[in-house]
Symmetry: C2
Subunit: 137 residues, 2 copies
Amino acid sequence: MDSITSIFREKKLKLTPQRIAVYKYLKSTKEHPSAEVIYKSLQPLYPTMSLATVYKALKTLVEVKLVQEINLGEGNFRYDGNTCSHPHVQCLSCGRVDDIDGICFEDLNSKISEFTKYEVLSNQVYFYGVCPDCKEE
Amino acid sequence: MDSITSIFREKKLKLTPQRIAVYKYLKSTKEHPSAEVIYKSLQPLYPTMSLATVYKALKTLVEVKLVQEINLGEGNFRYDGNTCSHPHVQCLSCGRVDDIDGICFEDLNSKISEFTKYEVLSNQVYFYGVCPDCKEE
DNA sequence: ATACCTGCAAAGGTTTTGCACATAC
DNA sequence: GTATGTGCAAAACCTTTGCAGGTAT
């Protein structure tokens, strides 16, 4: 809540209710919602906010690194209020996405350098499997 | 070239020239082309093949695990004829994608199990950085 | 006061779909 | 011969854009 205020001031971006709403929503959930889901969730509280504004707010928030964009290969993006580098796992049955806490793969960037001529700056690690709920069935 | 024949026979899929063309193209290149690029590349040899057919062929090939779909978060999919699990690296400057050979992250699936309740089946590891060509500039 | 942001509608790009015709088996 | 696949055009889908009016600074 603080970070958005100071970062927006520093970058001379306007602190609008819509941007705050999107940011707060992402910070308040462990889910990894798409733009559409964020839009629908904020609808009751911000009935006049448009989907385009959600997209624009997300783009801004990603640019100033207050949120993270993740892409699990479904043709749409999901967003994560947790900007620490951490792996994600998606259920192949129900599509839900969870964080994996307690492990970080940032060290891979330097480890990989002996296998590629690229200057490696970042990485994304995605796991796919079956979530506890779907396993029961 | 053999694998497609036997796998298609086994799954009772028809071995059409279009499907063979898409498969052979992906096997013959180290690039990671999009559907559009595959379509354009095959145009000279198969001038009547439509883009929809390329998409359908790719979907079938992915389903029977003869090719791999990769998604680097650009809003489109890329395809890889190399189905062994291997990491990819994308240049943030020119967008090109390369394989990283000599290292495999399949062991992560079991390593990660102590950090998640999911039954982990597969993973995708993507690196982002600057390719040798773009570094020169 | 003014530069920036919102909301709307329209456009853009990628992928899918429905259907008649064609073809691999 | 028949089930399946192709090719075409249209549709569906996600995301971006242009612009007039509104708002944060």
